[in-house]
């Protein structure tokens, strides 16, 4: 789960990490009121679960409440890299003396959390790492030991954090690590972490992403599900389906992420475009197949459907049953191509052959490529 800036900052503040006293506005009027409360001078920032909003024009420094209202109106009408802006965060403008970068994330290659500290804050950290590597310190943590005091110091010294800031920075890093662990985060990032006029280190921005597999430990977590931006994705999430909305016209149902991804690739090779990614997963029951198919059928962009299942843990007869129940219950107007192979494929094919399909156009295919080709052809009508 991704957290918007203000959501991350709420968690930071609760963990004792200093943040600016800002508020969220859903309308220009609210933004104006908040800016007034803050004394006029403020920053208005789009709340979207994606980076690069600054370059996209999603951040504005304003001199008074009127300007805040105007800028909020502008930003709230934006769509930033595909994400419409629903909220803006209005914060007092900070008196920045120096900017740092502070992040903890999971390094897949090293299979360990990595602490990243840089004295070049406020910039794209990957860019800094390339151009000024001496300003970026990475320290990998032992998953069994956690963050050790010496590692915090080492990161600070290597990142050339000024001597007088090593102690407060260390205390802050420990708090960030606690957030990382307690929230089951895969990324916690403060960029910039600013040294302000009062001498305090303040998280001017905040980013957090947590592990969905651990959501059972965080039933009250408030973030945004970036995998569920599209209404169909939201529906899929409710149904517990692994679904991603795409731009094309061939609805896809498959089992296994690799197989479904390859199916998308094959659709493209056959000259079509997939309308979605849908993995019904290992050991799928008829019920799951039914839910998945209903979801795809409710997508007006879908012109044909390809059901591509190779049975391992999934049993093809269950897939066939799910399909048949959908055909019986729903009005199916688009043609369906079915390819079943592997575990109980024969039983599945027999079930389909014996069934009363009403007026539904159902084609079967032997091979992967043939199935993709047929589905693309049928989508063209």
């Amino acid at each position: 789960m991704k957290f918007l800036e203000y959501q991350a900052k709420e968690i930071f503040a609760a963990a004792g990490i200093p943040t600016p006293r800002g508020k969220v506005a859903k309308s220009p009027g609210e933004a104006r009121a908040i800016a007034e409360e803050l004394g006029g001078k403020a920053v208005v920032k789009a709340q979207v679960p994606i980076g690069g909003r600054g370059k996209a024009g999603g951040v504005a420094v304003v001199a008074d409440a009127g300007q805040a209202e105007k800028e909020a109106a502008r930003i709230l009408s934006m769509e930033i890299r595909g994400y419409p802006v629903h909220e803006v965060l209005v914060e007092p403008a900070a008196d920045i003396q120096a900017e740092f970068y502070l992040g903890i994330t999971v390094d897949r290659a090293r299979q360990a959390p990595v602490l990243i500290v840089s004295s070049a804050g406020g910039m794209d950290i990957e860019e800094v790492a390339e151009t000024q590597p001496e300003k970026v310190a990475k320290v990998w943590l032992d998953p069994l030991l956690g963050l050790l005091p010496y590692q915090v110091r080492e990161a600070c010294y290597r990142a050339q954090v000024p001597a007088e800031l090593v102690k407060p920075m260390s205390a802050l890093i420990e708090k960030v690590f606690r957030v990382f662990k307690e929230q089951d985060a895969i990324l916690v990032e403060i960029n910039p972490l600013a040294l302000v006029g009062s001498g305090q280190l303040v998280a001017l921005d905040g980013k957090m992403e947590t592990d969905d597999n651990a959501s059972f430990r965080h039933p009250d977590a408030k973030g945004v599900d970036e995998q569920a931006e599209h209404p169909l994705e939201q529906k899929a999430k409710e149904l517990g389906l692994s679904y991603v909305k795409l731009d094309g016209e061939v609805g896809i149902v498959g089992n296994g992420a690799g197989l479904v991804m390859t199916t998308l690739d094959m659709i493209q090779r056959s000259g079509g475009r997939a309308a979605n990614f849908l993995d019904i997963g290992g050991g799928a029951q008829a019920e799951v197949v039914r839910n998945g198919l209903s979801l795809i059928l409710s997508d007006p962009a879908v012109k044909s459907i390809l059901i591509n299942v190779f049975g391992g843990i999934t049993r093809c007869d269950e897939v066939a049953k799910g399909l048949l129940s959908v055909i019986q219950e729903m009005e199916v107007k688009v043609p369906i191509v079915v390819r079943l192979a592997g575990t109980r494929a024969k039983e599945g094919r027999e079930l389909l052959a014996a069934a009363d399909l009403g007026g539904v156009r159902l084609e079967t295919a032997e091979s992967f490529q043939e199935a993709a080709r047929k589905a693309v052809e049928l989508a063209r009508g």
Binding site: Q111, E126, A214
Partner: protein, 289 residues
């Protein structure tokens, strides 16, 4: 020969009384795997498909001489189950379970490394040495013994490839599904090293996908391999930032793209197939006749 499992493999099923555990215990037995024990806490003394069930892994190991474990327990308890197997001295642990929290997997993989236990998975279909042993949920009927080693991040896609190979009469030495999670116990490079050392394996198929940099790391190793490797990468058309089913299949920023992986493999002299048929073609060309 083969890698990791063979006719000497004596399997413990953790979570044997669960729906999937029981189903695949039967499948493995049917295939001929020596499934000698099961564990489900509180169900010690029962039997599943004739296999004795114990309360603890240690007891199962002591009584039945287990050397390999396969884990089907639910995600919240799976990390504990894997550590129980490691602590009981089992040398190969195959974790089928999906949805295990990443912080737990970081600890489990670190612990397995420290103890010298090989963990395959999680979120994987397991492995098979055709004609010898099946430790996983792969459909045994599509495999046949032969000279091709297969290592893959996916399950069903692999079955497609295997089906194509077997149909053409090309058998497999061992097929290892390493799993679709970002943090996994055994990676491409680990399996490639085993295949390189296995006298029975004559060529290798490596089936990767978007996300992470394990394929790139493997490509670096392949440069030093003597055996031919054929690659495949799925997710070429996947949009960045979207998790494609597998938790590990996501392009974030510049890392994890199909292009990067294909380029790395090409740089190591590995032909990367565009279709499943082509994988089989490329392997056929490279196998000694």
């Amino acid at each position: 020969m083969s890698i990791l499992i063979d006719t000497e493999t004596r399997v413990l099923v953790q979570g044997i009384t669960g729906r999937e555990g029981a189903f695949h215990t039967k499948q493995m037995l049917v295939y001929g795997t020596k499934v000698v024990a099961g564990v489900t806490p509180g169900k010690g003394g029962e039997r599943v498909e004739g296999v004795p069930v114990y309360n603890t892994v240690r007891e199962a190991v002591e009584k039945e001489g287990v050397n390999t474990s396969i884990v089907f327990v639910p995600p919240r308890f799976a990390a504990d189950a894997v550590i129980e197997a490691i602590d009981a001295g089992i040398r190969l642990v195959v974790c089928i379970t999906e949805w295990i929290p990443i912080h737990e997997m970081l600890q489990v993989t670190a612990y397995a490394r420290a103890k010298g236990t090989r963990l395959v998975g999680p979120n994987c279909p397991g492995l098979i040495s055709p004609g010898k042993s099946l430790v996983g949920i792969l459909p045994g009927s599509i495999f046949r013994p032969g000279p091709v080693g297969i290592v893959s991040r996916s399950g069903t896609l692999t079955y497609e490839v295997v089906n194509e190979l077997s149909t053409r009469g090309i058998g497999q030495s061992t097929c290892v599904g390493i799993g679709g999670d970002p943090i996994i116990g055994t990676r491409f490079i680990d399996v490639l090293k085993l295949f390189e050392a296995d006298p029975e394996t004559e060529a290798v198929v490596m089936i990767g996908e978007i996300g992470g940099s394990d394929e790139e790391e493997a490509a670096e190793y392949i440069k030093s391999m003597t055996k031919p490797v054929v690659g495949f990468i799925s997710g070429r058309t996947a949009p960045p930032g979207k998790r494609m089913g597998h938790a590990g299949a996501i392009i974030s920023g510049k890392t994890g793209t199909a292009e990067s992986k294909i380029e790395a493999l090409a740089g190591a002299g590995v032909p990367v197939a565009d279709t499943i048929n082509q994988i089989a073609d490329l392997i056929e060309e490279r196998l000694p006749r």
